[in-house]
């Protein structure tokens, strides 16, 4: 077993949901589908208010190359196209569909499509038009990774099944319950890219997932399933590559620099489903968990479902203080619950204990230095950022190398909001960049 340097060991809290099979969430009364659910340009709506749409029907086209298509997640009627609040707090133009209560919500299937019959350009376009993005949380359009620039070659495919965020178990359940889909997706992408090796990295607190993928064909030929140390942030792209291949992606570069592509296991299953049945990305598995949930669950939820509805469905305890979209280390706190589930929503975490740690003076203990997987100096970054010395955070402390994993804030005994200070500094520097 291999690993990466530094990192932290928060309690994994997977026990709430790791044993619970994925359940299909009932179709909601209506869905709100933001046109920008991914990194890159927003999608362009193809439908108008009053249009009747079928589940799985294309309703928005990609708005550029780094952008994807969007599909109706329910059969019903478009009732509104207007800005809606999303988890980040921003207002995003969204297509609102009212579900037809009398429709069976059946998905039109088409016969399997053979990806090897496609050339690379068509393959990339299929993935883009299927609306598939990275399901690990960052929601980066997947097809962009497969459009390999001229002169570059992908030698190694790295599949991320680490799921290092505490509490979350959606990837775990997908690997356990749909290993054939995951391995099928891997086979499609590996063959398409013509890679020499494929490694699936899974933290070894999920031995059953390792076993399931091996039984589904992993470990044969040039596909390896690797059990990795349980250490946060094992699932960060660069840490995963370091653990599996022992190589460091150069600072500021993509894995492509080393001839590698990293994809999430859920994304692989989505790609398999698409080529098998034509099903685009219209639903996803998410984990509803935490001490504030009456009935924690792994749910297969149509995109656009309201967070409030899902929480009501699972039951919320009265002592709830916080609802987090995503995991506890990098997730987004929700100010209001009437926001939709998006393509990148991996979980809803409901907490009952409040608040930021009490802050004390920095004692220069160095715990943040030993936590940082990017081997930065978070103490220096926080000090410079707090003093408004933005330029120096870049010139002296490499602020843009920070992946915002939160390990430093987790480790800091003085409760200093180090990641927040770093994010502030990045935002200030970007603002200045734009002003130039």
């Amino acid at each position: 077993m291999s690993g990466f340097a530094h990192g932290v060991h928060p309690p994994d809290n997977k026990h709430y949901t790791e044993k619970l099979p994925i359940r299909r969430y009932p179709f909601p009364r209506r869905v709100v589908l933001p046109l920008s659910q991914h990194i890159g340009a927003p999608s362009r709506a193809l439908v108008a208010v009053g249009d009747r749409v079928q589940r799985g029907q294309l309703i928005a086209n990609p708005g550029g190359f780094v952008s994807t298509a969007l599909h109706a997640s329910v059969t019903g009627t478009v009732v509104e196209i207007a800005p809606y609040r999303v988890s980040s707090g921003a207002l995003v133009p969204s297509i609102v569909i009212e579900t037809d209560p009398f429709d069976a919500q059946r998905l039109e299937e088409r016969p399997p499509l053979d990806p090897s019959a496609l050339n690379n350009k068509d393959f990339v376009q299929h993935i883009q038009m299927a609306g598939i993005v990275g399901l690990g949380g960052a929601a980066f359009p997947s097809h962009v990774k497969y459009a390999v620039p001229e002169g570059k070659r992908i030698e190694h495919l790295v599949i991320n099944g680490a799921e290092c965020e505490p509490f979350l178990t959606c990837d775990h359940r997908v690997m356990l319950e749909s290993p054939e889909q995951v391995m099928g997706g891997i086979a499609i992408v590996a063959e398409r890219l013509g890679v020499r090796s494929t490694h699936v990295g899974i933290e070894d607190n999920k031995p059953d997932a390792v076993e399931a993928l091996r039984r589904a064909g992993g470990g044969k030929g040039n596909i390896q399933v690797d059990a990795l140390h349980v250490k946060y942030p094992q699932g960060a792209e660069k840490m995963l590559i370091k653990a599996i291949h022992g190589r460091e992606v150069p600072a500021g570069k993509l894995p492509l620099e080393l001839g590698m592509v990293v994809n999430n296991v859920g994304t692989m299953a989505a790609i398999y489903d698409y080529f098998q049945t034509g099903k685009p990305l219209i639903e996803r598995v998410l984990t509803v968990t935490g001490p504030g949930v009456a009935e924690p669950a792994n749910l297969l939820v149509p995109l656009g479902t309201s967070v409030r509805e899902i929480l009501e469905y699972c039951g919320i305890k009265p002592e709830v203080t916080q609802v987090i979209m995503g995991g506890p280390m990098m997730g987004q706190p929700l100010a209001e619950l009437d926001v939709p589930v998006q393509k990148g929503t991996s979980g809803l975490l409901v907490l009952t204990k409040a608040g930021m740690a009490k802050e004390y003076a920095c004692i220069r203990c160095g715990r943040c230095l030993e936590a940082c997987p990017e081997l930065l100096n978070p103490q220096l970054l926080a000090k410079l950022a707090r003093g408004g010395r933005w330029e120096e955070t870049e010139s002296r402390a490499f602020v843009f190398d920070c992946i915002e994993c939160g390990s430093c804030s987790y480790a800091c005994p003085s409760g200093i909001p180090i990641v927040q200070l770093i994010k502030t500094s990045k935002a200030e520097l970007r603002k200045r960049q734009r002003a130039k």
Binding site: K238, P250, M329, G331, A361, I363, F398, D401, Y410, S414
Partner: protein
């Protein structure tokens, strides 16, 4: 349903926090220092309790009156810790008013004047002790023997302010004093169980090693610092000892005598005044060990731990700058 969720707390990620916080780290070290104090009371009697209490009172009172209130400075246990540590570096018969003054100066000049916890360059407890050594050279080197019972109280403890006390009973010498001036090396067993004269906290080597284990287990200190100090002193003194065992003390004697263990465990590991990165810690520990050996073997003083740590404190900012980590993907060989 909507009622409990009407007020949601918003603050930036992460939403998990390591249970180790600054007060808990300080408290663990304070607990260990109080353990040393209890054993000192068994060795030196009531005097030990009073000297430690006087120094602690001076330190905490000064922080209370002059320290910053905005960063919970009194809630983090670092003030009482500084006071107790000053007390433990003093001889049993030390006049209480001097111990109190040591607490005042250590806290005042060593910490509060710099801006409070986290801002100071030098270890505040050692600043206090250095002041006392300069101001009261006789009192700080007058040692009364151990084993006089739990109620033992030296008349010199009760000297009036601005007066030097006189010791009624017998006085003794520390193992390092004996080694330096009379060329007598105290036996290892006596050093190990603290059957010697010396400052309150430094005599019992076995206790100090146990507490080192406790603090490492609680992750309250950077183990690299005491390990590299002890290792350096042992290795360097071994060289001299092999050259001439009649002239130079053995490595065992060097490590177990004087304030070496106490300083390595309680003083050099102060996170504020020690380096942040691991390589910095090793260098810091090596520097302290080297200076201790040079001062003890070739200097005019029998003991050198305090000056060694204070001198190395001074270059900690340089060590921090020199041992910046190389960021991921920036030229490390992989």
């Amino acid at each position: 349903m909507s009622k409990p969720l009407s007020r949601l707390l918003i603050h930036p990620a992460p939403f998990l926090k390591s249970p180790v916080d600054t007060p808990s780290v300080m408290f663990d070290v304070l607990l260990a220092a109080l353990g040393v104090t209890v054993v000192a009371i068994f060795s030196f009697g009531l005097s030990a309790a009073l000297v430690v209490a006087a120094a602690a009172l001076g330190a905490v009172g000064t922080e209370y009156l002059f320290g910053r209130r905005d960063l919970h400075s009194l809630a983090d246990w670092s003030g009482p810790l500084t006071g107790v540590l000053i007390g433990l570096t003093l001889p049993p018969g030390f006049p209480l008013w001097m111990a109190f003054l040591g607490g005042v100066v250590g806290m005042g000049l060593g910490k509060v004047a710099w801006g409070g916890l986290g801002q100071n360059l030098f270890n505040p407890a050692l600043v206090g002790r250095a002041f006392l050594q300069a101001a009261f050279p006789t009192a700080i080197t007058t040692w009364t023997p151990n084993g006089q019972g739990l109620t033992a109280l030296q008349s010199s403890n009760l000297a009036l302010p601005m007066m030097h006390g006189t010791v009624d009973g017998i006085t003794t010498a520390t193992p390092l004093g004996l080694a330096k001036f009379e060329h007598h090396f105290t036996g290892t067993l006596d050093l190990f169980v603290g059957n010697t004269g010396g400052s309150l906290g430094e005599t019992n080597a076995m206790l100090l090693l146990l507490l080192l284990g406790f603090l490492i287990w609680k992750r309250a200190l950077d183990w690299r610092i005491p390990v590299s100090i002890i290792g350096t002193v042992a290795a360097l003194s071994a060289v001299f000892w092999f050259m001439d065992p009649t002239l130079y003390p053995s490595p065992v004697f060097m490590v177990f005598s004087g304030g070496l263990l106490f300083g390595a465990i309680f003083m050099a590991t102060d996170p504020v005044t020690s380096p942040m990165a691991p390589k910095g810690s090793y260098t810091f520990g090596f520097g302290i060990g080297l200076l201790v050996v040079l001062i003890r073997l070739f200097g005019g003083l029998p003991e050198g731990v305090m000056y060694a740590i204070l001198l190395m404190n001074a270059i900690v900012p340089h060590l921090n700058r020199a041992f910046q980590p190389v960021p991921f993907g920036r030229g490390r060989k992989s």
